[in-house]
Symmetry: D2
Subunit: 284 residues, 4 copies
């Protein structure tokens, strides 16, 4: 994956885009490894992810934009390219619970997650030990009553210092302000401990238990201003029964949360997600 550039494109749908992109890549000696597309007929939008072998490709991070610009203008493209290296820098924001954090750390140590992990932040100190065992710097950023703005400034400063490219909320129990969210559009990944839009809000397992549902779920999504309503990246469900107490549901839910969050982070790291109209196109 480190030897592959990923080009993401969104533009109004019209004929010839794939041919034009594929032709451009070929013209510069590149090998097109994958070229996923999707057309949203409802909105007349076209989405594409092109994976280009870097070896042999005549363009690099310094020269690509200039060469590509005419194409982008011709098709009114929004686009971005990621060169595989240097690796994306991931920061993780936690509260008290560690299960999602531990899971991410294990995947990172096992080379499943091809990222740098320069920083873990917590509004509680509970996960400091987990971070220390993993030899990742931990910063304690408590939220003092009535002063969330100050804490968010602290977090943003630390993220900037760590040069974090994206932020994973690994069961972070605070609501981020619109000001914070605005600084990292489609680069904050949350895990919601519920099958959204069912049981949006604070105590979904309790709500699910009281409703007597036969399955519970988890949802990973990008964070937007509208709480719990951001573009969904991944979801999954697991059966429950009347024998499950709320604690059992929480336990089953934790297993799901870990897997669903990891899947979302994986997709983000591989530049497989495009966002439009508050929905994701996921080229998996």
């Amino acid at each position: 994956m480190r030897n592959t550039a990923r080009l993401l494109i969104a533009c109004p749908d019209q004929r010839g885009i794939v041919a034009a992109v594929a032709g451009f890549v070929a013209e510069h000696g590149g090998n097109l490894l994958d070229a996923d597309q999707h057309t949203d007929k409802e909105h007349g939008e076209f989405f594409m992810r092109a994976a280009i072998e870097r070896e042999g490709f005549g363009l690099d991070r310094n020269t690509f934009a200039a060469a590509w610009e005419p194409m982008a203008r011709r098709f009114h493209m929004q686009w971005s390219i990621f060169w595989g290296q240097p690796l994306k820098r991931m920061a993780v924001l936690v509260s008290r619970q560690s299960h999602c954090l531990i899971d991410l750390l294990w995947r990172w140590k096992s080379n499943e997650l091809d990222v740098e992990l320069p920083l873990i932040l917590g509004n509680h100190p509970d996960c400091a030990d987990v971070a220390r065992d993993a030899r990742v710097p931990f910063e304690y950023c408590p939220v003092r009553p009535g002063d969330k703005a100050r804490q968010e400034q602290q977090v943003l400063g630390l993220l900037a210092d760590a040069k974090a490219d994206f932020l994973v909320l690994a069961r972070y129990m605070q609501i981020l302000t619109p000001d914070f969210v605005r600084t990292m559009p489609n680069r904050i990944i949350n895990i919601h401990h519920s099958f959204l839009p069912a049981f949006a809000g604070g105590s979904p397992y309790k709500a699910a238990y009281e409703r007597g549902v036969k399955m519970i779920g988890a949802t990973s999504h990008y964070v937007t201003d509208d709480l719990d309503a951001g573009p969904i990246i991944a979801q999954d469900t697991v059966p429950t029964s009347h024998r499950d107490t709320i604690d059992d549901m929480v336990r089953k839910g934790r297993d799901l949360e870990r897997l669903v969050l990891a899947r979302a982070v994986h997709l983000h790291v591989a530049d497989k997600i495009l966002v439009s109209n508050n929905k994701t196109v996921v080229f998996d």
Copy 2:
């Protein structure tokens, strides 16, 4: 299954209920094939399903109630017993779509569903052919504007004539009135084309599409006054992606609906469901 009596019990939790019930059965020469229990600690309630081999059991439909009554009084039980035979009589109420009906008919013909099926009713005539091919009487009961009460009286009359024990709404698109629901408590089974409580209401696939969910679901539940909020019997989900159009979601949903409804009917027919506090205890 036809040679097994099923006794369902709900009562305040206390010591010795299982022993008392099992002792009663043994005392009358019965063989206890299964004795599932569940204690709802939150509400202090006890639930039990006892399956008793009829062969050798000294009690029958005429003598059971009198013999059992002291036990029922001692533990303040709500109880019911079903003797395996004669079979339960199932009626099916449909609108235009036939997929759930066809599925139920096929299972019935394959001896998967151990019921009599004396009657299919429709507020549209569309499913008449399906019923005729299956050699089951079909009654057309249209809803005239402003006169739903009259149609429900017609349906109730036909159900009474057919001696129907329970009613399956196989994608019936009308809302039943509380008066109707009251006549068959916990004996009307609905399939909701959604993963309740997400997307409750009329066009869940459209809502799910617009929300960009990565899974859709279906929910089967008993019908209560509160639309879409009755006790859930069975649920399931299936993955979707950005490539799925609304039509694709509808198609995937239909497959789910058929399976989930069939599962719920199966459980009901085998007397494996107890209802309490608007939740089900399902001994599967």
Copy 3:
């Protein structure tokens, strides 16, 4: 789907194929709706499915091959194109059990399966009624002991008369001879009532029951000379428990078989399957 031509390509992997194909389509005024690719690095093979809007495309079934030939030669392509219309003609071969047949018929009648269905054949007469109710011709082709060759000739003759494009074995319990299979390579779809390669052979549910498995599965595959070892198209599993009798497993298995076979037929009809090295590439 009827307005879309589907071009399937397999060739040795090299640079520039996507660009060349996309360029070809654009040059002839075509709109490339989808262009899925897959590179099998292990074998150095490239696979592509291009969906081309027929409206505006300057080539048709009469002119395409000549225009395309230079491209095919240049990249050493194996290729095929399907024009969306006329519809593919599906024949179904059954034995005694009807559940898969009924399911296919229902999907066909519901316009889920965009095919012509000119013929159902059975080596037993049991499904004749189902065929008649669906108004599809049924041919009874019994296998007389020691004379399977003759029956297969009869079947092949009827398939030819019906101009069948592909054949679905909907729980057909006879083994086809290599001679038969050779006439329809990658155009005979089977449903195996097991999670291959586990419990290949004749009584998989019994074998699964005796092994005490906690899940059973179903596998749909193209038929090859090597019994049950053809390229897998679709698989799925469902949980079981010690409470399931063999009959329960059969019943759960039937539900799976229907769904998995329908999924495979769907993919075949939409020209989404390529076969290589006895494996499928499925662009779903």
Copy 4:
């Protein structure tokens, strides 16, 4: 769970067992919280798990056996009882891979697994760090060529010193000898990285990849003399596609392995598993 005694019974099926057991418990002042049964009609065997509240129960670990003996003799029972406390003592045996071990450790630290964890053993030193971070003793027990017997003696000695009640093979890549297995019947839990019996043997993911399967699985089972053929406790599957490389399959498989092994350990710890005829009865 610590306040609940669990009584497991297996005996020839006959009338009145539930009544007798429930009566015994009631007679000694016990509250029967759960009384799951299963009758294996094929072999005429009866299985039961009774969960008894310890508070109020007139028997304890010193007095139970004498009081119970007449019942056991009358019904020819094999039985065991576990008193909830002291906790079961779990040892874990690993090789190089740590993902299952890390998962078990996390669940143990999160109080999901109600066990003591006195010892981790490895035939490679790779997991020593993980054990140290978790503050659990680690013993390195290498297998020298031609001298497995000596290593197994070492392991058995360490298990005895640690008073281990059961042993979890968390991706242990050595085959245990029958002599070893015999010392802990139905108390060694293995995770097999495949969907048994498909792809039993050494490189299941490679085999699955080459067969082109669309799902992979994992199986947890008790270890018996017959390699990979012991009683299955839990299984699960996950979808794959042609896009998955062997590495992807291994990665997906690891996630499954962790979950399936944890589920099996959970069931064992809660005394919810009975074994008979090389199959499990799992009261979950």
